[in-house]
């Protein structure tokens, strides 16, 4: 199973759109520039580094790296030495590293991580998903509180369509005729697809398959008016750029993917408290804006994190 989803990887692989460019921009930082953070006695890779060094990892996904960098910078502010190990591939790779103590902090997403341990886990409220996750997490790993920010599928519409039909939640779509949603074709068979939305909210919607994983073609189908809805990631900068509105999901039809840090035993209460300050401040809009700076301005994750933490008064 991929970290995020097949479609995001497909998008990256095809090199379509700015997301891939953003990812490339973030990962091109000079590896030697981080040497002084690793401390004197650092061994090359494997095993735990210095007793005092916290190893922060990230997925090979630009947005995840930005969140990891937020954690890294508040930890440094708290006086700890941080070793950055970004762009680690799959969960299959980094979860064992976390358990073995070679990695100490990883930004995660509640729903996907829960399904990693319990593939049949069904959608529930963000709180329920978080507590279910804390129960299945292996010994030695600790789950910190989750952020309001999410990176999940959504029923997103244009602000015009939302205001002319007074839409705030998915439930408000009930009764509207001929609703079409642009999404990858597998949306048809997802639990939050047409059948699920009919059962939970009484909404009738047909899928117009656009296979670029919520990329520019999907967004364009929505802004052109070919469809009234699109399945976009809630953290997608295209939401700001095109004045789009992700509809709220009060019944948790869609598996919540709140940002959540998973940490090793080496992260003591002080370090956990530092990371939690980021989590408490990170709203949904903040994450979209952080991603926008990466995709549109091609800013580095270090600069993006520094700017945001400064605004929030966290460093």
């Amino acid at each position: 199973m991929s970290i995020h989803s097949t479609r995001r990887h497909l998008l990256g692989a095809l090199g379509l759109g700015g997301v891939a460019l953003g990812a490339a921009a973030c990962s091109s930082s000079d590896p030697f520039a981080e040497e002084d953070g690793a401390g004197g006695g650092s061994s090359d890779g494997g095993g735990s580094a210095d007793a005092g060094t916290i190893v922060v990892g990230s997925q090979a996904y630009y947005s995840n790296e930005i969140i990891a960098e937020l954690f890294a910078q508040v930890l440094e502010k708290a006086g700890l030495t941080v070793d950055r190990q970004y762009q680690i591939g799959q969960r299959e790779v980094y979860l064992p590293e976390l358990e073995s103590g070679a990695l100490d902090v990883m930004p995660e997403y509640t729903g996907n991580l829960l399904q990693n341990y319990e593939p049949d886990a069904e959608s529930a409220s963000p709180e329920e998903i978080h507590s279910a996750l804390s129960e299945v997490l292996p010994d030695g790993l600790r789950l910190l509180p989750f952020a309001q920010a999410t990176d999940q599928d959504s029923y997103t519409t244009t602000s015009d369509f939302a205001s002319s039909n007074s839409l705030t939640t998915i439930a408000d779509l009930a009764g509207l005729k001929d609703l079409k949603i642009a999404a990858n074709s597998e949306f048809e068979v997802r639990p939050y697809g047409p059948e699920g939305v009919k059962t939970v909210y009484g909404v009738d919607v047909t899928v117009v398959p656009v296979e670029d994983g919520g990329g520019p073609l999907t967004v364009q189908a929505l802004t052109d008016g070919d469809v009234q809805l699109a399945d976009l990631y809630t953290s997608d900068p295209a939401i700001i750029a095109n004045d789009l509105v992700p509809l709220e999901d009060p019944e948790s039809l869609i598996l919540p993917q709140n940002v959540v840090p998973v940490v090793s035993k080496k992260v003591d209460d002080d370090a956990a408290a530092a990371i939690t300050t980021v989590i408490e401040a990170l709203s949904a809009d903040d994450l979209v804006e952080l991603n926008r700076r990466s995709v549109e301005e091609q800013a580095s994750s270090a600069d993006i994190a520094k700017g945001w933490l400064g605004e929030k008064g966290l460093v």
Partner: protein
């Protein structure tokens, strides 16, 4: 996934519920065939007259060969995406891409058909007082017909194999099974879709091969 996905693909094909309705195999195959025929037909309107002209007169031969060769190298998925960003989702964008995909084979077929006519035969026709138009339509085209059909054959097989990309931007066709199977990790469905595309390509190829044989002019058929 349990069991062999290839065997399951054939079970999927044998399931009668997959053979009816707007997303059933007959409808999707018909859509697929429709995209192919339309793409090749539009390409032929452009490429056949151009190919005959180039073949008969020799004018612009270098340009035509170079352009056709370059067009062959264009990645069709890239073209579909590019056109869809310009004209939106729907049939226009993939159709433009299929036309560009089909032109090189058709153009090469038509121009080489004309060039392949024996110069002595063409000179004889000219000596008899035929106009250039008569030479083209009564001598060169009938003699070269198998090569023209060969151009159609190449173009059709290429487009039918690529027409799954129509489903990338909101259309139907057999690509729907392939993309849905891929996205939902339903590999039997994905393989079944691929098998259907392959079968359709083989049927069309065979039909055009037979047409090619039938268009061999009398007197040039091997004994």
């Amino acid at each position: 996934m349990n069991g062999n996905p290839y065997l399951e693909a054939f079970a999927w094909l044998g399931d009668p519920t997959h053979w009816s309705g707007p997303s059933g195999i007959p409808m999707r195959t018909l859509e697929h065939l429709g995209y192919t025929v339309l793409g090749v037909a539009v390409a032929a309107l452009i490429a056949i007259p151009l190919g005959l002209f180039v073949g008969h007169t020799g004018i612009g031969k270098g340009i035509a060969v170079t352009a056709a060769g370059a067009a062959r190298a264009l990645p069709t998925l890239g073209l579909v995406t590019l056109f869809a960003l310009m004209v939106g989702i729907g049939l226009t964008a993939p159709m433009l891409a299929f036309v560009i995909l089909a032109i090189p084979s058709l153009l090469a077929g038509a121009s080489s058909a004309v060039e392949s006519a024996d110069p002595a035969t063409v000179d004889a026709a000219r000596a008899q007082g035929m106009t250039e138009w008569q030479i083209l339509t009564r001598v060169e085209v009938p003699l070269g017909m198998p090569l023209i059909v060969g151009g159609f054959r190449g173009a059709t097989v290429q487009v039918v194999a690529t027409a799954m990309l129509a489903a990338y931007v909101g259309n139907g066709g057999l690509g729907r099974y392939i993309f849905l199977g891929l996205g939902s990790q339903d590999y039997p469905q994905m393989i079944a879709g691929s098998v259907l595309v392959i079968a359709l390509a083989l049927v069309l190829d065979l039909a055009l091969l037979l047409t090619q044989r039938l268009t061999l002019p009398r007197g040039t058929r091997p004994a």
